[in-house]
Structure formats: C-alpha cells, structure tokens
Assembly symmetry: C2
Homo-oligomer: 893 residues x 2
C-alpha cells in the first residue's frame, strides 16, 4: 500500500496498517484476511479524515465515488442492496483511530433504513418490532451524532413511553409504541436541527462518515488526547460495515468473549452472551447475560466455531483477545478483536504461559507485564469489590495520603500503649493519632495499620510505617482526632476505641468496619518469579533495597535486591530500648556525659549492623550516617508542657519533674523553624563528630567480626546533606581514621567505601569537587526535589500539591515521578561532573523515586548504576529497569 | 633592572619595585632616590629569598660577597665601620614582602655589637646605659628570631630584674643591672640553643638575613597569607640598614607622623614623638608621647625639615603617608613611609581634598574609599573608644547576631505595650523579647533598638527591624529572658525593666548602661556626596532600594536610589490597624467573608502604594505580591494557649474566648513543619487568587489616581516563589485581567510590567520558559541561597554557620557574601536562559546581597541590570558598583 488511497476494503489491509486504517479497521482487515467470518465492509482512511479536516470539513475529490463503489462490493457480499425497500442492506459507521480512545468518538448504526425500507425489513425479518426499533435507533443516533441534537430530548420521550406502557425496558414496548416513537423522534430532529434525517440512504451514509471525521476534533476527544499524550494530527478512520443482528430471533445472540480468563489468566474461554439481543444490550446490563459456556448448549455449532476463532486469534496475535461476536440466525459473525484488559495476576500468568506455549519469547513476556501490575500483586489488598460495596454502604469515612501501601484491618486505638497492649494480646489494631512522635514507636510495632490526622508523605508516621511495611494513611485532614475522648469524627461518622477500621495505604481511603483481605505471597507466584528472572537478563540498572533491619534485608534479598542502597541509622535510634541513651547523649552537659551515652549506644548499633551485614553477605550495604535533627529524638513539646504542669501541680514532682523540665528546655532550645534546612546530616557530623565516629566504629566492628567469622561484608558509609566539599573532606578524614583504628584493633581488613548523598542543589553543582572525596554518590531525590522546588513535601502534599496536579499546574507530583526538567537536569550535571573527577564513580538513586517506573526509566537513560527502593518495590523496580532497557513506552494507550 | 641581581642598594630601586624589593624596600629606595634623609642600606631581594628557600635554606652563590660589598658602601656613608670596636656601625635587618604582613615576620636590630664593641659604643655615645641596653636587646632578639629561644625566658629574667631594682620600666634599670642582664641572656641562649650569639658581626648579619628569609614560611605567616589570599611563592626581601638612635641624648627623638589627620582628614601634620627615645618606645606606650606640634618647640630645625618631607611624600605618593622618623643628635632621619590607615570620614575627606588639590583624578578618588568605609559613615555608632571602655569595665553583657546595623541606647522593656507606652512618653527604649511576633509590631515602632534571645537574621525581629531601620541584635542565645519577671540574665549580669542598655546592631554586642552615641548625617557629608556622584559616572549597575513605606522611599531617593527593587507588601499587612482585617480574611469561612475582609484591606493597600509611588515619581517601583505563609499573620501559639486556658478558667470567657479559640484552631491547622517551603508566594496566589487580585487592584488604582494627577508612576508587579512556568502563566492571566479592568474603570493608561522573583533552584533551570511570561527577573538571593545549600538562615546562623566560617568549612557566610560557585552558577544559568527567550529581560538582585560589595562585584560581572538594597546601603552600593566597573580589588592587603 504505497500509493495514497482514501479507502481500503477489509480484505485489503492488515494488522500493521493501524496508522492508516485505525486500530479497529486494521483488526477487521486482519480478521478478513485470515478468513474469519467478518461482515463485509471497508475503511475510509485516517488520511481521508486529515484531508477532510484540513480542507475545512470537505471530503476529498473522488472519495465519495469510491465509497459507492465499495458499497456495491458489500452489497454483493451480503446479497442485499443498500436502500432496497424490500430487502435492505443496513450498514454501521464507526470511528477508529490509531490509538484506542474508548467512547470518545462517534458511531451510527442501522444506516440505510427509511420510511419505506423499514417496512421491507419488517417483512424480510418477519419481526416488525425489530424493524421499527432499528429505525427509531437510527433516527436517535443520527440526530445526536450528525446533527448534535441533545440526547436527553430523546431520552425524555422514551421515558414517557415506558411509563405510559408500564414497560421496564425498551424491549417491552409494543410495535405501535415503537412506530409512534419513530414519529416523535423525527419531530424532535426537525425541531432541534431544522431538518429531517435524510430519507436517501446514501445521504445518510455521507452524513455519518463526515460526522465521524468531525468527531476527531470535539472537545472530549481533544481532552482525552491531551491527557494521554496522543498527537492531535493523526485523524480517525471511518469503518463502514454491513450490519448483522443478534436480535433476529431465538436463533440469534450477541456476546463478548476473552480468549483466556482475564481474572486468573487461565487458558479457558471466558465471557458472556445474550440470546436474541444486540451487542449494546450485553453491555447495558438490563438483562442478565449468561456465561459463555452455556452458548455451547444453545448454539453448539456457533460455539465450536467461536472456539476455533478464539484459538486462532489468540495464537495469531500472540496475545489474549477480547472479541465481540454476533450469531445471526445461527451464523457466527466476528465484529471486533483487540487485546483484552486483564488483572495483574492474569497478566503475569498469561505472559508466562505464552512463553511456555512458544507463542512469545521471554523478552516479549517481560514487556507484556507493567510494573504497576507487579506492584498490585505484592501488597495485601481488599478482596474484589469489597471497597466498592463498603463505599456504597456509606462506610467510606475519609481519604488521606496513602503513605505506606497495602490494606489493613483492625480495631481503632488512640495511643501507642494501648496499641502495644492490645497487639500483644493478638488483637489487630489500627493506631490512630493526630500525628506521631518517636514516643509512639512501640505502638507501631504492634499495629497492623496507622492513621494520622496530620503530616505528609515524609512525616514520622509515614517514614516509620514504610520502614516497617505497615500500611498507613497520613495527613487525613478530614478527621478530627480527640485523643482524650478516644474517638475521631469525620463527615458525621464517629469512630470510638475498639471499632473496626479498614485502611488502604495506597489510595489513602479509610473505611468503617472489617473489609475482607486478600493476602498475596510472592512464594506462590511462580510465574512472577520467572518473569523477574527474565527481566533481570535485560536490565542494565542494578536494583538495591532501602532496608534498615535484618528482617527487611532478608526480605529484600528474597525479592532480588543486589545490595542495600540505603540503610538509615536513625531508625535504630528510635527503638524504645535505645531512646533513653539517645536522649542522654543529646542532653549531655559535657563531653564526658556524651561519651558515656554513646558508649551505651555502640553495642546496639553494632548489633544492628551485624544483623544487616549478615543477611547481605557478599553484597554492598550503604549505611547512611545519622541524618535528622537531634530534636526529632525528643518527646513532643505539647506533651512535655502538659507533663511538666501536671507534675508541678503535684507537690514536688521530684526527679521526674526535673527530667521532664530538662527535656522541655532542650526541646525549646533545639526547636528549629525549618528543621529540614537545619542542623542535620553532615552538619551534625561536623559539630558532634563523636556521634558519627561511634557509628563508624559500630559499622566497622560489626564488619570486622563477620570477616573473622569468614563472611564477606561490604559496608559503604554514606555522608548525608553535603553542600560544600570541605564538609565531606573533613568528616572523611575523621571517619577514615576511626575505620583504620578499628581494623587495626581487630586485626582484619574490611573492604569498605566512603561516599556521599547528593540531595542539595549545590552538591550537584560542585559534584566534581565532591567526587574527589567520595567513592560513590547516591541521589537523595526526595530532598533534592524539595530543595529544587522549595517545597516541603510534608507541608505541601495535603495543602496545595494535590490541587496543583488536579488543576494541571504540575503534570505530576514530583515526589512520585521524578521531575526530569529541573531535578533531572541537576542530576545530569552531578553525574557528568562527578564522573569527570572519578571515572568509576558509582552513582545510584535511593528514596521513593527508586521504585517509580517512570523515574527508573530516567535513571536508566541517565546512565546511573542502580536504583534503590523499599523491599516490596524491588520486583517492580526489576521489571521497570528491564522495560527501560528495552525501551518500552509505559503509556497505557 | 632587567638582569637578576640578589641585592640592590637603596639608591638603585624605586617605588615600582615592590615585587622584587618588597614594600618597605621599595619605599626606602624611593625616598633615597628623592634625596630624603634615609639611613643608608640595601635590600636583599625577594628573588634571593625564593632561591634560598628552594635550595633548602641555602643562600645563593655569590650573594654573601655582594652583601659584604654593599656593607662597605654603608660604612662609607655613615663613616663608621661594621664591627669596629671603637666606633661601630650598627645595622638592622627587617623583612618586607610585596604585600604588608604586619608583625608576621622577623626583625633583628643592633647587629654589629659584641663584647668589645659594646664598650666602644658606650665610649663613643658617652652613654653606657644606652650601649648595654642595645647589647642586651640584640642578644634577646637574636636568640628569639634566629635561634627560636622562647621569648618568655628573657621576659621572666627581665621581670625579676625590675622587681629586684624596684624599677617600673626597663629604662630605669641601672647600668650594672643591664650588664648583668646581658650575661644572663647569653646564658639563656646557650642553654636553649646550645650555642651563643656569634661575636663575629658578619656572622650575626648572615644569621639575621637567613632568619628573615626563613620566617616567610613560619606558621603564622602562612596562616596570614591563607587568610588574606596572598600567594605563598612571593618570598620576602631583607632590608639591611644602618641604625640611627633617637635615644642618643636630649637632642635626639623618635616619632611617627601622618601627612594629614587620619581621624578627620584635615590637611595638617598629625602624630607624636618622644624625646631621647627609640621608635619602639613610642609604640610601647610606657612613656606618654607628645603631640607632634611640640616637636617644633624643641627641635625647630628638624621639625621644619619634617614638614618638608611630609609635604613632599604626600604629594609624591598622592596619598596620605604614615612616616617613621628619628632625630639623632639634631639630625632628622626618615625610616619608613607607607600609606596611612584612616577613619572612614578621613578617607572620604582626603580623597575629596586631593581631587581639589589636583593630586588625583576623580576615578582614583572613587577607588580610594572602600564601600565598607562608606557604610560606617551611615549608621549611628558609639563614640570613639566607648565600647572598649565599657568592655573593660565588665559591661559587655552578651553577643548575639547583628541583625540590623547601627548603635542604639535605651531602657530595657519586656513587652510591646510597655515599649509603646514609654516610647510615646519620649523615653528611649530597647525592646527585649524571647522572640517577636506580629503582635509586637506596635512596640517596634516606638523602640530605638531591639534585642531577642532567639531567631536568626531573617527572623521576624530581624526583618521588621531592618525594614524600620532600627538597630537590632537577635538570636542572643547567651541571655535568658524572663518576660514575666521582666528581667534577663546573662553571664551573671541581671538586667531589669528600666535599666539602660546599649546595643550594636552591626557587631551584635549588648552593653549595660548608656554608651555615648555619634550620630552621622549624610546631609553634612558634602565630600561623600561628591564622591558618590563621581562613582555614579563609572558604574554600569543600576542601584535601587528595598523600601516598603513612603518614608523609606523618600530616604532611598535622597540616597540616590534609581527606583525601588523590592517593595514588600506583607509588612503592610502587619501594621496594627490592618491586622484585624487580615485575620478576618484568613479565618473567613466562605468566600463572602473573605471578600468582605479584602474589601476592608483594599483602601489601606491603595494608600500604601500611593505614598510609595508618589515618592518615586518617574522611577520604577517593583511591588512583590504577598509572600509569607498566612499563619505568620496569626498570633503566637503559646500565647494563645495561655490566653485560652486563662479565659476558660474565668467563668464564661464569652466572645473573646471564642475568638481566641478560633485563632488557636487556625494556628494549629495552618502551622507548617517547614514554613519556608510551604504554602507561600505564588502558591498562595493560585490557591487564594482573590488576595493577589486585591493587591493588584490596589496597585493599579493607586497608580491610576496618580496618573490622573499628572504624575508618572511605574509600578512593576512581581510574583514570588515561582518553581514551575505554569504557576506564573496562570497567575499572570488573572492579574492582567484585573489590571486591565482597573485601567478601564479609571479611564487612564498606566505603564506597568509583570515579572517574577527568581529564588528557587528550579526557577533558574526553567528560566527560558519563565521569561516568556515575565518582563523582568529579580533574584531573591536569600531564598535562593537557602534552597541551594539546604540551609535555613534563621536556624543555621546561630547554630552552625558561624562555626563553619570560623573553622574554614566555608570561606564566608553565603548569606552575606554571595556564593559564586553554587548559587552564582544557578544565577548565570537563569540569566542566560532568560535572555535567550527575551533579549531585553531586565534582571536585578534584591535582598541582602544587593548591598554587599563582593556580591555587587559579582552582579556586575554577570551583567545584571541593577542591585537593590536597603536605603542606608545605597551609597555603599553606588560606590561598590563603581569599584566593580573599575575592576578594583576589594582585598585590604
């Protein structure tokens, strides 16, 4: 097909002609070419549409003659004549662009009917109802699509008819009423459009083709393309096809069938049909369709043929197909085939099965499953339609930020102590707090889910929950927590302690009551594990985990992590048994006291690291030295104020009062206006070198012990929040001295490296200098995004960021999907400059973006060495990295 | 002088040979060449020093022979012989590098004395004390400088001697004691160095020259060069010069004279002398020197000659000289001349006078005064040595951050109401608070100074003080304010209400008591005004003011501002009469309430802008739309909590309770973890467009009114905190619509522009897009620095930034002096990209950096259009901009 032609008969095109014929046209052509029973027809091309639109809505010269010529061929194939008053051929005109735009553009059915031929049709079909119903549908669709008559005008009249006749559905209307409706509809068209639906069938057809072309530019279609990134200059094709009727009597039917089970992926026909009905009726849901296997009983011939068609198409397209069919007087017709939507589970099973069946290769299988599908498989979720049903019953209480994905069900409790007590008794609990502090951590450990009124995606609650893998909804501003009364209210609903709640840590939705849970387990997902191994063969990016505990490390390794990209040490400080020593360290009045407290912490830290290194034996573990401001380890100020005033009221609060007062004084002294930009990261390391020296000692002692055991630990020490190369230089000198002396004391050699987190814009700019002192870089894209935009994620997400994304001020939340234009440019600069100074500099991304497929694609394009993400996202990242390497486009169009 | 020679006689060099001969050597050579009475001598060059050091501390071949040859010439000139036991020539060896490094390197005097010649000197001078004192000084200096004997060893012995003899000063020691001292000193040298001071004069000389060369690399010299940016490879010269003695009897004297008055700049000799004394004695301050005019009485001949010398040198160098002289037995000798240090006042007067005298041109005059000197002239300050004396008396209470320069004296008050009440009664008051909030602003208006315990350079107290031009010390963590007791304590000192305090808002020092003030007034500084006009002819950068009120605008215009670069509108919201309406706006429960509150604010804003535009008639005024988070306009949370609990305790707090509760609820709802990165700037404008629409309406109505009056206002509307081009695009559309409708309503045309602040790293990167919607950019370098470094100035300055600068982690505080490497690169990128999209884009800097000379130099180099700074710094900026254009190096070396 090299010359420019405006029209192609269905037997001329192939599946590869989507650009010219549109998706639907290419599918019909392919099936025709394969000899499948497709009603004959032809496609007016997208090129014709473009020419029509460019010329100011005028059909190109010669096009109409060619339409008529093609129409003659269809008449021949169907042995009926278009416009024949006795035995009329009816045709449909359907739009179909290169990319599917479901419901966006227009369709007109039953073209060719008029006052005369409707009677012929009635006679020929022996079904007067059918003929008049088809006629009034034509008038309605034509009026709507071609003339733009508001469809409610028709609906109102239809509604009146049904009431008058006491009919529950249109199909119950008597013939006379249908005739009357046709009359009324014609009046409406005349009133609204000032002209009637043409009686001349060819004029009808021409109007319908032009209307389909014009529909390319209607607002909803443009908006859809904007949203999905589809170019505006493609145009749509118009498919003219002989009508067949599944409502031609008891030996007719319409239905939809999938070549495989779209829920489970099992290799079996799946679908439904309605006897004596049109395709629309199956979708409309007025009558209950019957399962496809029953088709075998009523239409054994057609069913066998359909089985063959399904097998053929599934094998031909090497993909599960979603097929529309009609049985007209016992004869099977195929009206459409396309790749079928499926569940995540089915996507994986089908891809895996097709490899086994020899239909596709492993590479194709990898591309057939999206990272988003893998993600869904990895978290506990609510069963089937449980959320929908709960919402229908008014049990959706509120919606906050989904801060730690997964679904959780448990009883509401309002403080950490209760959470701990109930949890230890085996009760599932959801910890509900206005916001959380380090004092609440023991409650998290026993909770199955967390819900907070305030705080963003990096609030304490969010971080701790993600770290522990507990589903959490934070910043749920619509609820009002009354901790004292042990209740919260939202939108008129009041939840008290002990009431059941169900929270979805992905969507942020909170329900009252116990929703049924579906618990996934990767161990059982053999197909997924295979798929990931295939993915691994294609990806260039390494995949590491963010893991702070031996348990997380083990999980990460099981999920396929090739190391730990971020082991945060401050979470270790937050554990209940260390917090007193941490606080003594912070409150130390002299270096002696501080040294004593640090000495207490050393064995804890050593033990923490030992466990993680042991799990990751042979693999690198990047340990980030302490990062948050020290005041984060102190109790909440409001609570301290309350405690102090309470203790003062009692006669002589004694030691406890003194301790609380000292804490309050420290909190006040250390509180920062903008803690994110305050005394944290390397700044702490320079001001209080003894803290990071203790950490490095713990790291090196833990590693030394394992080396002695014969294991192979690879600690990598990471300095956070560096802005100035001198910070790194100085801290490095001290830490290397510590590392050296530990190795000397233990008489072993530990292969370790020292690097820095790149999370400030300035660090990107001075990366050349930094790389002189750093053996590796890890982009902390969360903080880097915060600084580059000047946006605090905690504060922004609930306040204006959602609004920004909704309103299109930003195309996406930059904390979810990496901002390539701004943050990305800084990363590119850092990478280039860093590698100028040190060619073998290892560079990765840690933080939330490390698990986002779009950001992973960017990391691949940049040429980073690895991404690091939470253990649960590792399979997602493995697949996304493979997709990036294979150049897959993630857009769902 | 093209060939390489190691040595130059004083009569061979000129002032231009500083590189080779060092500053001192070049000065001595120049004076010798001019025929002034300089004791003969010669300079061993810096090249010799370099050769000596490179060779591992070995003098180059032939050098020593040349020294001895030159020595013979000196002997001839002085008619004495070096080492002659009867009539010995004594010489000094003094270091002197290209750049002055005062006190950093070494000097040895009285070389040529030994056991024998000391007796000859005694006889020849007829003064045994003098001879033995000279000898013990030689031993002491030689031991110290050449052998490195700790000088305290000598000092201890000297101390014992003085005690034993009951002598208050060395000059009171009897001859016998001086002889004994010489003996003891020789013993010390032998003990410590293991060898004696050489008896051979030539060996002495050689040791001294080598010691001077070697002193180039001692630690304090290296540190000094590091600090002042002087290269390490220059080397020092060694000047060998015949000694003359001002302590040769009553017809001898030593002194220092300035060719002009270094305090006032007046054209008169200024200085002091001591009869029968050596140069060191004048400096040492043991005897009180006499004013130089009295020299005329005692030494009329020498005085006349000195007057001639001063006139000659002042005219010759075209610069005020600081001259050391000695009269030996009635004969005047000049030992050194160099440019004299002077007060700021004197610098300006001298530069101006010299232009009048035809000595220098205007360009040179401009370069002779540093921006820092101009700055000092513009703020009230404490008189003369008042601070020193107060500190000596233990009245220095504490030191905080100097947040708003100038000195202030007043009585301590501890709340805004008292400040207002006392201030209105005419009392000068210093408002002392733990920290301040908008509720305190009425107190600021009546205060002469502000002192806070907490907060940084951009805390509320700091910003409001700078805005009002009130001296302020903030973040004074050493004090503990007890607002209830109305006292504060620091370091054992307790200040109560009504006690006098004196605060220096530049140095951050706080004194108890009333220090005397010197009040400058630019109106009287005719010379300065002239100098600034000369500066204006050379600078390329425009200079605008940051001014929020008509008063500031008027002052700015008087100081030479060419427009307003930043008019902040939020300060208008903080005024006491608007705050209630502002709060009603914030607390509004619906858009009607909000509209009503905004309607109340509109006339206030209009009036504010009208006043500013009127003052700046004909000049551009950039108005920044509201920037800070709205919660900044709400009261302090702790105070609200206290008020609420107090009102609750009273039976039925009524309306007031309800209002306070509503405020508290709003504060809690709106409080942000990191407000700097929160809901502010353009984000507010997008979420609450009605606020910025009101502001634009006020701006345009004010300007329209003035246009009707026949004036020429140039409002420029600036959108803050833009990160994404879509933010600017959307807000711009709304604001332009408002601007259009106001002009239509008023039937006038107002020339206005719309631009954006560039203060986020991302804005710099997407500047090309932003420039499509912005007619001007203004760099908000304060926020840009905060984001680029990830440092909150408020939190950092008192906590770790000072430490960083002290320890050299950062070369300077990036909030004072613009970081060219990081922030500067982002600015360069923004400028380039912005001008790509819009060639005539106007780009300036507003914020603190706009008044910093080093940052102004950078702005000039970048090619910005203007800088904008506080009114008081405008003269500084005008001069600094001229210096930048003239390529002056600001380093004071």
């Amino acid at each position: 097909m090299t010359e420019t032609r405006w029209i192609y008969s269905f037997d001329e095109g192939t599946r590869d002609d989507r650009e010219l014929l549109g998706g639907k046209g290419a599918g019909l052509a392919e099936m025709t070419r394969m000899g499948l029973p497709v009603p004959p027809g032809f496609t007016v091309t997208t090129a014709a549409c473009r020419a029509y639109l460019e010329a100011g809505e005028v059909l190109p010269d010669g096009l109409w003659d060619e339409v008529l010529r093609q129409l003659r061929r269809v008449e021949k194939g169907m042995e009926r004549r278009f416009g024949d008053p006795e035995h009329p051929l009816l045709v449909s005109v359907r739009s179909g662009a290169k990319f599917s735009m479901p419901g966006m553009m227009n369709t007109v059915l039953n073209l060719g009917l008029n006052e005369k031929s409707v009677r012929g049709l009635a006679r020929a079909s022996g079904d007067e109802r059918f003929a008049h119903d088809a006629h009034r549908r034509l008038i309605q669709m034509y009026g709507d699509v071609v003339y733009g008559v508001p469809s409610r005008r028709f609906e109102e009249v239809l509604e009146e008819s049904r009431e008058r006749c006491g009919a529950a559905a249109d199909s119950e209307l008597p013939v006379e009423e249908l005739q009357e409706l046709g009359r009324r509809f014609r009046e409406i068209v005349q009133e609204e459009a000032g002209r009637p639906v043409p009686e001349d069938p060819e004029e009808q057809l021409r109007g319908a083709v032009e209307a389909v072309f014009a529909s390319w530019n209607i607002k909803r279609a443009r908006d859809y393309r904007e949203h999905h990134g589809i170019p505006h200059d493609l145009g749509t094709a118009a498919n003219v096809q002989a009508m067949v009727f599944g409502n031609s009597g008891p030996d007719s039917a319409s239905g939809v069938v999938f070549t495989r089970n779209p829920a489970t992926g099992a290799k079996e026909l799946y679908g439904e049909f309605l006897p004596n009905a049109q395709g629309e009726d199956v979708v409309a849901g007025i009558r209950t369709p019957r399962p496809i296997r029953e088709l075998r009983d009523d239409f054994p011939e057609a069913y066998r043929e359909l089985e063959d068609v399904c097998r053929t198409l599934d094998g031909h397209y090497r993909e599960m197909q979603d097929i529309e069919f009609t049985v007209e007087r016992g004869r099977l017709w195929i009206l459409q085939t396309r790749a079928g939507k499926r569940t995540s589970k089915a996507a994986v099973v089908i891809a895996s099965d097709m490899v086994e069946e020899g239909l596709i290769d492993e590479r194709t299988a990898v591309l057939r499953v999206t990272p988003a599908q893998v993600e869904v498989l990895l978290h506990p979720r609510f069963e089937g339609r449980a959320e929908e049903q709960a919402a229908d019953q008014g049990e959706l209480v509120a919606r906050g930020l989904g801060a730690s994905p997964g679904a959780a069900v448990g009883r509401a409790v309002f403080d950490a102590d209760t959470a701990e007590a109930w949890g230890k008794e085996g009760e599932r609990v959801i910890l509900v707090r206005p916001e959380t502090t380090p004092d609440d951590v023991h409650g998290f450990l026993q909770a199955t889910g967390v819900l907070t009124q305030r705080g963003g995606m990096t609030s304490h609650a969010a971080i701790v929950s993600r770290g522990l893998g507990i589903p959490a909804v934070v910043g749920c501003e619509a609820i009002r927590v009354d901790s004292k009364a042990r209740t919260f209210t939202a939108d008129g609903i009041r939840i008290k302690e002990g009431d059941f709640l169900s929270v979805d840590g992905a969507s942020g939705k909170v329900y009252r009551g116990e929703l049924p849970l579906a618990l996934p387990s990767l161990e059982d997902e053999e197909e997924l594990l295979n798929l990931l191994l295939w993915a691994d063969q294609h990806r260039k990016l390494g995949v590491r985990a963010n893991a702070d505990t031996p348990r997380d490390a083990a999980r990460a390794r099981f999920f396929g992590a090739e190391g730990i990209g971020l082991c945060r040490t401050e979470h270790m400080f937050l554990a209940e048994d260390r917090l007193p020593a941490v606080r003594r360290m912070i409150l130390a009045r002299n270096s002696e006291e501080r040294a004593r407290a640090l000495q207490e912490l050393l064995p804890f830290q050593r033990e923490d690291f030992e466990g993680v290194f042991r799990e990751m034996d042979g693999l690198p573990v990047i340990v980030r030295l302490i990062d948050p401001p020290l005041h984060e380890f102190l109790p909440d100020r409001d609570e301290l104020v309350a405690q102090v005033s309470h203790l003062r009221a009692q006669d002589g609060g004694g030691d406890e009062l003194a301790e609380r007062e000292a804490l309050l004084e420290a909190v006040d002294r250390m509180t920062e206006t903008n803690p994110m930009l305050g005394l944290r990261g390397v700044r702490l390391g320079l001001l209080h070198p003894e803290i990071v020296e203790m950490q490095v000692r713990a790291i090196m002692e833990a590693a030394s012990g394992l080396v002695r055991e014969g294991l192979d630990p690879h600690p990598e020490i990471m300095i956070p929040l560096v802005a100035v190369s001198e910070e790194l230089r100085r801290v490095r000198e001290r830490l290397e001295a510590t590392a050296r002396s530990v190795q000397e004391e233990w008489g072993v050699e530990v292969p370790y490296r020292l690097g820095t987190m790149i999370e400030l814009p300035r660090a990107c700019l001075v990366a050349r200098d930094l790389a002189e002192d750093a053996e590796f870089f890890s982009f902390g894209t969360n903080d880097l995004t915060q600084m580059t935009y000047g946006i605090s994620r905690d504060d922004a997400e609930g306040r204006f960021l959602a609004h920004y994304v909704d309103e299109g001020v930003m195309p996406a939340n930059p904390f979810w999907s990496l901002d390539r234009e701004g943050v990305g440019e800084l990363m590119r600069v850092a990478l280039e400059r860093g590698r100028e100074a040190r060619a073998d500099l290892e560079v990765g991304v840690c933080g939330e973006h490390g698990g986002d497929p779009d950001s992973i694609e960017f990391a691949h394009e940049l040429g980073l060495d690895y991404v690091s993400c939470s253990p649960y996202r590792i399979p997602v990242a493995r697949l996304a990295a493979a997709h990036a390497a294979l150049g897959a486009v993630e857009r769902d169009i």
